[in-house]
């Protein structure tokens, strides 16, 4: 499997996924 960070679009997708995960983690922690 290729490293997604080798591609710019892969890097952006990783960033978006991380943002989503953290968004929902913080939302849950805040009781939202």
């Amino acid at each position: 499997m290729n490293n997604p960070l080798d591609s710019l679009w892969g890097t952006i997708v990783v960033g978006l996924i991380l943002t989503l995960i953290l968004h929902f983690a913080v939302k849950a922690a805040l009781g939202g």
């Binding site: 960070l5 960033g15 953290l22």
Partner: protein
């Protein structure tokens, strides 16, 4: 006017734009330009004249951004880094920014010093350094997305997380 928070906020933005702007330059432009330039034998100019100056402003802008952010947090610094409910959004942003700063000084810059010949390295060490610096820079590019999201969310919890 509250001078310390106002100036900290302004400097945090100025230095942050320079830091992340140069990070995006490295990732969106520099890496591809260096590859193309290496293929046609014109890469020496970039390595000699562009990279050292870009890295100088990049790594010190990272420090100034972090220090101004810490000053801006002021007495809320502990609450943010301990991810207390009242400061969770900005705390996550602050942690991501801190990890990025450590990546700059602990991985990117030491490896770039080998690549640029500032410290001696064999060809094999340079190749390894190139890969580590590249991947760390890509990690920071990915981390910049949630980092900026949570910076934007700081102080706007209702807008971003409802509740």
């Amino acid at each position: 006017m509250d001078w310390v928070p106002a100036m900290s906020r302004w400097i945090h933005f100025l230095a942050g734009v320079m830091w992340i702007g140069l990070l995006y330059y490295f990732n969106f432009v520099g890496a591809y330009a260096a590859k193309a330039a290496a293929a046609d034998g014109t890469g020496a100019g970039i390595a000699k004249h562009v990279q050292p100056r870009a890295l100088l402003f990049f790594r010190w802008a990272a420090v100034v951004t972090w220090l101004a952010g810490a000053a801006l947090l002021g007495s809320h610094f502990g609450a943010a880094f301990m991810l207390q409910t009242s400061h969770m959004a900005i705390g996550v942003g602050a942690w991501l920014g801190t990890i990025m700063l450590l990546n700059v000084w602990g991985l990117i810059w030491p490896n770039q010093k080998k690549i640029l010949g500032i410290v001696p390295a064999t060809d094999e060490e340079k190749n390894k350094a190139r890969r580590t610096a590249f991947l760390t820079s890509r990690v920071n590019t990915a981390l910049s997305m949630p980092m900026l999201y949570f910076m934007a969310a700081g102080g706007h919890t209702q807008m971003f997380f409802g509740g």
